[in-house]
Symmetry: C2
Subunit: 145 residues, 2 copies
DNA sequence: TTAATTTCAGATAAATTACTCTTAATTAAA
DNA sequence: TTTAATTAAGAGTAATTTATCTGAAATTAA
């Protein structure tokens, strides 16, 4: 089981942060992303395409084609990516799986969960992908200067 | 998509807290749990059975049979339930889906995620099911005195 | 112009998760 | 002792998610 985000969404987040670290103007191919991030090629293709359709990425066909972040890059957040892939449910779903869950009608974990989720989404909303990409210390993301 | 916990696990949590609210000594049938919590009967049966096998629940066959929490009830936590159903992965998996993710090798959300997860599991480990059940204000859980 | 490289599109397959069905075993009440 | 109610067990089905395959369309470089 994938946790919190679907596998698709995890891949999307990894790829978007990779694009955030590549020099602006350069297009990155699915091939490179797939190889570097170890994500199934055609599966990743679908994901990137859908992010392009939803306006988060730019895509170009042809020999020098590939994907890049839509501009202005500073306006893109991971919250948008999550929303585009997994939808908005996570932002209000009950962690115990109850249909209704609210302040008036709380499950045993409601308060704790709302508090923690809010903290996470504060970061996801308030920092753009460039800022977040900087906090990623993984080797694969380093050599993109 | 279910978030954080699998559907199975959500059902398990709901059922365990229901049992935590029923008077001690009384067995609760799958039928009652299934109806009150709106969980598919046979699916729930499997889940409860596996929790019984793993030692979290007591089960009794026959006309007055059903399920109850293993005693001593005070020693049962939701963290144990989660572990029994979804396994321990959630306690160390990377929220962005990277294989390795640590303080030395963090993804962009590592610190935030560790903070969230720790906060949640502090509650899940430190409060027993009786204490947590008390915080559940849902109508279905009320009339069990 | 041609060949190479890329995304786009749609179909399909594999894997996982969720759920159902049926029968047997057990127990207590009638 | 019979009957009704319950869990146990295993097989089977459905739905969803993840992944693969193939070919077309676009674009650039040779």
């Amino acid at each position: 089981m994938s946790l919190l985000f679907s596998r698709q969404c995890e891949y999307a987040l990894q790829a978007v942060l990779y694009l955030a670290k590549t020099p602006s103007g350069k297009m990155t191919s699915i091939k490179e992303l797939s190889a570097k991030l170890d994500i199934p090629y055609h599966y990743l293709a679908k994901i990137l395409q859908s992010l392009a359709i939803k306006g988060l990425l730019l895509s170009e066909k042809g020999r020098t084609g590939g994907f890049a972040l839509r501009i202005p890059v500073e306006h893109i957040t991971l919250a948008q990516v999550i929303d585009a892939v997994d939808g908005p449910a996570i932002k209000h779903s009950c962690v115990m799986g109850f249909g209704e869950c609210s302040e008036d009608n709380p499950c045993a974990l409601h308060n704790e969960w709302v508090h923690l989720r809010t903290g996470l989404f504060d970061v996801l909303n308030d920092k753009n992908v460039i800022q977040l990409a900087r906090e990623m210390k993984k080797p694969v993301y380093e050599m993109l200067a």
